[in-house]
Symmetry: C2
């Protein structure tokens, strides 16, 4: 049976996690959040975070339009984004590289210069890795982090009545990718969001102490809201009219004949943060000075996730990027 | 410039480590040993080990003759082997999988059953990972471990006068691969060593308190001795006549017209341990009851590594598996 016929990526992960030993008293959060949470000591920083992400040439980056420096930035940012989504700060990185016989030293050094740029920005130290050969350039990063118990934000922490908000405008990366694939002109704003996304570690540190659930938007708004709902056992309403879109994303939708909110709902790689927060804490959110956008609210336990369209219809919130579909 | 023209894998790694931030007071050992050593607390288990290894379909395993269960075993064993080589014990594993549109659920579940077999054997818990799509099945594992300061064995710890020994007979995996590639018959001993290698975590725990340097044999004896010499700043003599070979490896050499010691020196994936030990501690080694084979000795600081041939000639110890050659 092919993976797409078995329900895709997330259904497969559910099957696989039953096969391997995955429960241990030191593993507070294992398979199924942005990062694992492991208790490493009893002191002031008891929790270690671990996340891993793999990027494959031609699938996750395209060497036709992405410079190696840009690919390096993106590989680090998408991992730091996972640590940020847990409320943590990144520490040590391990890089597993698959290079081909045709890969040049210059390309690889460019990749590492991009990584160094993001590592420097986020205080990440490269502490090891593995370099091997294969047919397709593949970059697999494992990133460690630390988080204090007060700042730990899980997907499962959403509460009925919470506001759902995001830290920035969405859909730009996917809009750019759709234009690039059709050889259509791309604005510098869209191109930058696609080629050198910057994760929101800055916002995360201000949000972590005051929000309930948090998740980074790597597979699209619809997918992330559904993850939060499923893991928190709650429902949600997302209001289409409130999804923040940059004018260039709206233009891209017009050019491509795609409703622009689709880029936000079903695209991915925005690397903004989505969080849920109790209404009574909104004043603290305002005090942070962060820009944020309310997109919906968490509904009762046992409810489902819905999208409220611009015309007021309530439809199941489906979509989001799912590998193997 | 292609990587092979820049000196291959190890020369590339030297160039890359200068580009990214890689020094930090908590990183006791970073890029360049079997695993990184990170100080995580001040208590009884202050050191965490981290290793990462990637296996690519058709390059590191062949789905023509390897069942998914066997591939699963091999991916875990080669990572546990790195932790064992540091004197540590493995703890938590993170699996990054690249699957193709043609990969079946059955193959993937078989892979995980193999992983579960080795994880159960070594007490490893799967605490997270990432599943994505690409053109070639790729399995990247990051494995954490712990080690006490008394047991920590580094490549840089060899001392002039040390004996060099290995925990088992070598070359079987490479001999099998060479036979398989020519569609020649392979004995069950060779096949098992190639398809389901078992790392020597058992031996490592007995060796760690009494040896100096330790390294696992994943790229061939010649390569590993050279790593130890370079990082310890010493020389070595390896005696060809003392390299332990199973009769099936000798037969394979005869069939293929290859000196059988070449499988041990230049092959790889034996996953036995190579260690150096002070002669005055050999009695402790005997007390462990472990089977081991003396293969040479560490010479003075600033010396080079030599192979003493069966005819008594002393030639530079070259070779070992180097990707991109």
């Amino acid at each position: 049976m092919l993976i797409k016929d078995a329900g895709g990526e997330f259904a497969l992960i559910e099957r696989l996690r039953e096969i391997v030993p995955s429960r241990h008293p030191e593993v507070l959060v294992g398979i199924g959040d942005d990062a694992a949470v492991i208790r490493i000591n009893e002191g002031q920083n008891p929790f270690m975070l671990v996340t891993t992400d793999t990027l494959v040439a031609d699938d996750h980056f395209n060497t036709r339009w992405a410079k190696p420096e840009q690919i390096g930035i993106k590989t680090v940012e998408c991992n730091v984004s996972d640590i940020a989504a847990m409320g943590g700060v990144p520490t040590f990185m391990f890089v597993s590289l698959v290079l081909t016989p045709e890969t040049t030293v210059e390309w690889t050094e460019g990749l590492y210069r991009g990584m160094a740029d993001s590592c420097g920005r986020h205080g990440v130290i490269t502490a090891g890795g593995d370099t091997t050969h294969g047919k397709v350039e593949t970059i697999s990063i494992t990133l460690l982090g630390r988080v204090s118990p007060e700042n730990l934000c899980l997907r499962s922490h959403a509460m009925p009545g919470d506001c759902i908000a995001v830290t920035g405008r969405l859909g730009a990366s996917t809009a750019a990718l759709n234009l690039l694939r059709k050889n259509l002109p791309v604005t510098s704003y869209l191109l930058e969001k696609h080629l050198t996304p910057r994760c929101r570690l800055d916002a995360s540190q201000l949000l972590a102490p005051i929000v309930h659930a948090m998740i980074d938007i790597s597979d699209g708004l619809a997918s992330e809201v559904n993850h939060v709902c499923r893991q928190s056992g709650v429902g949600a309403e997302v209001f289409a009219k409130d999804i923040p879109l940059h004018p260039d994303v709206i233009d891209a939708g017009r050019t491509l004949g795609i409703p622009p909110a689709d880029f936000a709902l079903n695209g991915g790689e925005d690397f903004e943060l989505l969080f849920t927060i109790a209404p009574e804490n909104l004043y603290k959110l305002k005090q942070t000075g962060l820009t944020y956008y309310n997109v919906g609210r968490i509904t009762d336990r046992g409810e489902a996730a819905f999208l409220v369209t611009e015309s007021g219809d309530k439809i199941p919130l489906k979509g989001g990027y799912n590998h193997f579909r």
